[in-house]
Structure formats: C-alpha cells, structure tokens
Symmetry: C2
Subunit: 205 residues, 2 copies
C-alpha cells in the first residue's frame, strides 16, 4: 500500500523548518545544524528552504528574530504582571531576571543562536527591532532600582543583564553546580536578591 504522500505544497513549510531547525540545534548545537537535515525532518527536498529563507544564514536570522520576539514577550509578561504599582519595583526587576533565565532554558536553541551574530544577518531589521524591544524590557525597569548605591539606570541594566545572561549561559553549558542546573529559576532568584538587595539587612521576602 502506498504511504500517504504530502501534497506538493507543504502549506506551512516556514514554520516547519523553524521548528525542525530548533530541534536539530537542541540535539547537536548550532554549529552542527545542516539545512539538509532540517529539510529532511520537514519532509521536503534540500532546496525547498531557499524560497522561505534564502540560505543557511537566512534561517539562522529568522530563528534569532523569533528568539528576540519570544524574549521580549516573556519579559513583557514579567513586567505587566505587576503594572498595578502594588509590587515592590525591586521585586519586579528581580522577576524580569528570573523570566530571562526561564526563557533561556525553555528556548535553548533560540538563545544559543541569538547571541552568535556571526551565524546570521545581524543587520536584519526583524532581528534589530526584536532585540531592541527585548532590551527595552531589560533596561526599562532598571530605573526603578536606582538608589541602591547604583545611580545610573544603564549601569543597573548592564549589571542585571550580565548577571542573568552569564548565569543562563553557564547553566546551559553545564558549568554550574547541580542546584543551579536542577532549579535555575529558583537559584537565580535567590542570587539576584543577594546581588541587588541592601547588604546585611532583610532582603525582599
């Protein structure tokens, strides 16, 4: 009996290729991802992706843009959940950092591509716009924690981003201990409080 064949037009090939690419990267890392393997897993010929993404770097570009979009959404949700002003701004800032780590762990393939600009067309307007939107959600709330000895909101943003980006990266490449690997969000929440709270006194409960 003939196997049921996919019609000539895939119907949603771009989406399928992005998903397959994320899957391959999750298994082997960005450096070992091949267009042919991505096409195979999507059930099309090796030249099919050209119509949607142009070339390999084009596929990486789409992944990076999607990653920054998802990050911006994740950080936006972490901010908006407390927009009523009734929550300590420092706690909101902390939860944004936790959301960043949650995003990195849940979207490891995207996260690894996003921060390797040599893989993609870094001047892509989609990527630049999405990255800018994500950065706004990282730097924006930094203004709320000025006064903890840190008087420049860009400094607070850079410290926070460095901390959570470094933590996420070290967890993903297996360099931190079992607590951090087993519970990245809980660990970064605890460490973030230590790093950003008044010394010697009660931290945010």
């Amino acid at each position: 009996m003939a196997t049921p064949e996919r019609p000539y037009h895939h119907g949603n090939l771009a989406r399928a290729l992005l998903d397959a690419a994320a899957e391959v990267i999750g298994e082997m890392g960005p450096a070992q991802m091949s267009l042919r393997e991505v096409a195979r897993r999507s059930g099309v010929s090796n030249a099919a992706p050209v119509h949607h993404f142009g070339d390999k770097a084009g596929l990486f570009t789409a992944l990076a843009a999607e990653g920054f979009e998802r990050l911006a959404d994740t950080l936006s949700a972490a901010t908006d959940g407390s927009a009523d002003g009734q929550v300590d701004p420092a706690e909101v800032f902390l939860e944004i950092g936790v959301a960043y780590v949650r995003f990195a762990v849940a979207n490891r393939a995207h996260f690894e591509v996003m921060f390797r600009p040599e893989l993609y067309h870094r001047e892509s307007s989609d990527v630049l716009a999405a990255a800018s939107r994500a950065a706004q959600h990282l730097y924006g709330p930094a203004a709320d924690v000025i006064g903890d000895g840190i008087t420049d909101d860009r400094d607070a943003g850079t410290i926070a981003w460095s901390l959570v980006h470094g933590f996420a990266t070290l967890v993903l490449n297996g360099n931190l201990d079992t607590e951090a690997s087993a519970d990245p969000e809980g660990t970064v929440r605890r460490l973030g409080r230590l790093a950003f709270s008044p010394k010697g006194g009660a931290a945010v409960p």
Copy 2:
C-alpha cells in the same frame, strides 16, 4: 626559481594548527572554522592534522584545554599579585573578575570554544583538569567577600562568575554599549564595585 619548500616534517605542526585555528575562528567564528582552511594556513595537506588531533572535535578539544589553561594562569596572576595580604580581599576579588574579562577579550577564539562543549570532547581529562584549575581561582577568593550580605562563598563565586562571564559574552557579541566595548576592563571594574560594594556608602577607592 623554485620557491623554498618546507621540509616534509613541519617541526611544530600542532602549535601551528592551534594558532591557525584561533586565527580562523577569530575571523569567522567557531561554526565556520574548517580543518582544510586551518591546514592550508599551516602549509600542510588536509589530512596532516589527524596525526596530532584525530578529528575536528579533537582540535576544538585542544583549543578548549589551552583556553582553560590560559584562563587559569591569568586568574592565578591576578590573585598572586596581591598574596602579601596587604590588599583588600574585596579588591582582589574585583581584579580577578577584571582579569577574566581581559582574558575573554584577548583570547576571544579560545573563549568562544571553551563555553561550547558540544564542539569538543567534553570528557577530555586535559579540559576537565584545566577547567577545574580555572574554577578554583574563580571560587577560591569568593570566601574573602563573605559578610557583604552574601554568606555562602559558592553563592559569591556564582554571582561573580555569572556577572563577568555574562559581561564578557555580551561585549564580544556586540550587545553592550560603546563604553563597555571601548573599555571592557574599566567598565566591568566600575560595575563590579557597584554590584559588590556596600550600598550607599563609599566603595573601594
């Protein structure tokens, strides 16, 4: 007139291949490094590296091990320069972080390979030993800053490593501002003081 040819035995091919690999990675990133290009730049045939490194992952393994060795040496030097006990331990801890960022910027190719374990044989005893020695220099002095609200030296080490690793990574992939890119060491020294010093009071001068 015949060009002067290299004798059949290169004489120091392993070293030449490591240097050429770092050069290629510096130009194109780890994902685009090819053994054939590395061999060409070393003046040998494409199969010559096999004798020294086995395969492509073997070359990456050697680069990673060398990178962790260099990092350990850099951090050791940052520690030893103040072993006489006359320097504020918090300042030593800060300078170790600065040395980490200096290493990352100066050895960008090695740094990028070191933290991508999917590229190399991560169970390599050379890599594990060198990485362990480097980690000791990162975590060791963390004990000296307990009392700043941070009561666990592993927590201090993880916060510090996350901060400087994240900062170095974000500088290298062009995500931080022009101050950080133009003066990574100065910027991370300043931010490190903010992050680790008593709030509201005089920081380490």
